[in-house]
């Protein structure tokens, strides 16, 4: 390992120092307990802060796409706007709906938020900033993110409102369809990388990102993952579950205050999660850009902290998602399902076979140019 020294901005030293300090003073059980709680608090804090930043960025970029300024009143350039919004939403009254299923009505937002929290925990934010690193990382992420849809369906059902119901049904059909494509696109890369663990995947992309390593097949998988991930989050041209002109707000029409905040937060964080998984799987995650042979260049790249690399790559993908969102009109439900079942899924299935052939016959870039990548 070339560089185990002089990365002053990484969290590595802080974490090791904390761990040794705790271990020197108390027993294993308490050390683990305190560390778990610390990790959970850190993740929750990151979750809400990232959501606030995303809401601000989304509003600003949206405004730029529409030749407006966006929020610019609360603080300079409106940077405190989302903080103000959060305070407002926390203080709002939670409205009870008559003749609705109270228990399911209250449970539904938690499904959404828990699903996105569980996925959020598995994201490698940087070197050593990785809470859950299972050896089935990719499978875990696709599995737990599917819990959210139950929240949507229950929310639509328990609101006792036909708009919510239609929104929930649409969302369910959409999510179940596109989850398939997203999973297949990730599996294509699992074939290439030969592992499901995020940390190993990132390590394998040190000199050549998966996006380029499997060239044509990887690129197709990348595009399909972005499209289906975008559709899973109910945003952009795929936002017909909450098509405001037809369904007021879809499945969260009847929610207010904190409960609505949960849905809102989960929606924004799902956008971030999709982008960050795409970053990790296709774009090398937190690994800085490294080139074979150029040791000084690699060294300089390592001085930029890993989490900066991660958030920069993720930011580019989030911008792409916003760009798509403000470019295209909303799809009809039949167009939506056509896109998935007639285009994305068949292409995906062929793509996996192509990827297997590429890997088996040694046509990946690392195999073709071993000195370069």
């Amino acid at each position: 390992m070339i560089l185990n020294y002089s990365q002053p901005l990484e969290f590595t030293n802080l974490i090791t120092w904390l761990d040794t300090a705790l271990r020197s003073s108390m027993s294993e059980f308490w050390v683990l307990l305190i560390e778990f709680v610390l990790v959970a608090v850190g993740l929750l804090a990151a979750y809400s802060v990232i959501a606030m930043i995303l809401i601000y960025a989304e509003r600003k970029i949206t405004a730029f796409f529409q030749a407006r300024f966006g929020p610019n009143r609360v603080g300079k350039y409106g940077i405190w706007q989302s903080v103000a919004d959060v305070i407002k939403i926390l203080l709002k009254e939670i409205i009870h709906i008559n003749r609705s299923d109270r228990f399911l009505f209250f449970a539904a937002p938690f499904f959404m938020i828990i699903a996105s929290m569980l996925t959020f925990g598995a994201i490698p934010f940087g070197k050593f900033l990785h809470a859950v690193d299972f050896n089935i990382g990719v499978l875990y992420v696709t599995a737990v993110s599917s819990l959210g849809i139950i929240g949507v369906l229950l929310a639509g059902w328990s609101s006792n409102n036909k708009y919510s119901m239609i929104g929930a049904m649409r969302s369910g059909a959409q999510f179940v369809s596109y989850e398939l494509s997203a999973g297949f696109a990730l599996m294509t890369i699992v074939v290439l990388a030969g592992t499901m663990q995020f940390s190993e995947m990132i390590e394998g992309q040190r000199y050549c990102w998966n996006l380029f390593n499997g060239h044509i097949s990887s690129m197709i998988a990348f595009v399909i993952y972005l499209i289906s991930g975008h559709a899973e989050t109910n945003r952009g041209p795929f936002d017909l579950p909450e098509a405001e002109s037809e369904l007021t707000a879809g499945y969260h029409t009847e929610y207010s205050g904190k409960q609505f905040g949960f849905f809102y937060l989960a929606e924004y964080l799902n956008m971030f999660i999709i982008a960050s998984i795409a970053t990790t799987v296709f774009l090398g995650g937190w690994m800085p850009i490294q080139i074979h042979g150029l040791e000084t260049f690699n060294q300089i790249m390592w001085y930029i902290p890993s989490y900066v690399w991660f958030f920069a790559k993720t930011g580019v993908l989030i911008f792409l998602s916003l760009w798509v969102r403000w470019s295209f009109p909303r799809l009809r439900i039949d167009q939506l399902l056509n896109l998935e079942w007639k285009y994305l899924l068949p292409i995906n299935l062929v793509n996996i076979v192509v990827m297997v052939i590429i890997v088996l016959t040694g046509l990946t870039l690392t195999d073709l140019f071993p000195g370069l990548f």
Binding site: F64, F65, A67, R68, F69, W323, V324, S327, Y343
Partner: protein, 177 residues
């Protein structure tokens, strides 16, 4: 075979049109912002002359207006916004004459339909584009348009004729309605 061709040509055409759409929005991202930042740009703000915000009665430098207190604007107002109070005075040659006493206009009731201005036979009133009309109490919305001590402008005899003509014309129209 042709259906397969159609499938792929449709796919690539679709991708092409999507990319065109994205390039359009990309250009839009860098265009100049069109937002008017209102309270800050009051000095440079341009409001169209045709914008109807406030009914006014123009007075000239001698504090004279053109209103003959005929009451046509009051009759034509769909909301009863205008109230023309007239007084009768005796002129020097002994004729009785109706002159304007108070001309009140209720901003709160007005729908800015412009009928009063159109029908005014003597062009005595017009809409201005001064739009900052917010007040704290409703009673302040009722404004008196004629200034204190103002009087009717004496028209040169030539134009009087034409004005009367047009007045008759418009009055008839109004009555027909």
């Amino acid at each position: 075979m042709s259906s397969i061709l159609e499938y792929f040509s449709g796919l690539f055409k679709g991708i092409k049109s999507l990319l065109i759409g994205m390039s359009v929005t990309w250009k839009e991202l860098w265009t100049k912002k069109v937002t008017q930042q209102y309270p800050e740009n009051r000095d440079t703000l341009v409001i169209s002359d045709r914008f109807r915000a406030e009914l006014t009665m123009p007075h000239d430098e001698n504090n004279e207006h053109a209103c003959t207190a005929c009451g046509i604007c009051q009759m034509n107002c769909p909301n009863g916004t205008i109230n023309v109070l007239s007084a009768t005075i005796e002129t020097e040659d002994g004729k009785k004459k109706k002159i304007l006493d108070t001309y009140t206009w209720d901003l709160g009731m007005c729908t800015f339909c412009n009928l009063c201005v159109i029908t005014c036979p003597s062009d005595a009133i017009k809409f201005e584009n001064t739009f900052e009309n917010a007040v704290f109490t409703r009673s302040k919305l009722v404004q008196q348009l004629n200034h204190e001590g103002s009087k009717l402008r004496v028209k040169p005899p030539k134009s009087t004729e034409s004005v009367t003509k047009s007045t008759e014309c418009i009055t008839k129209e109004a009555q027909n309605k």
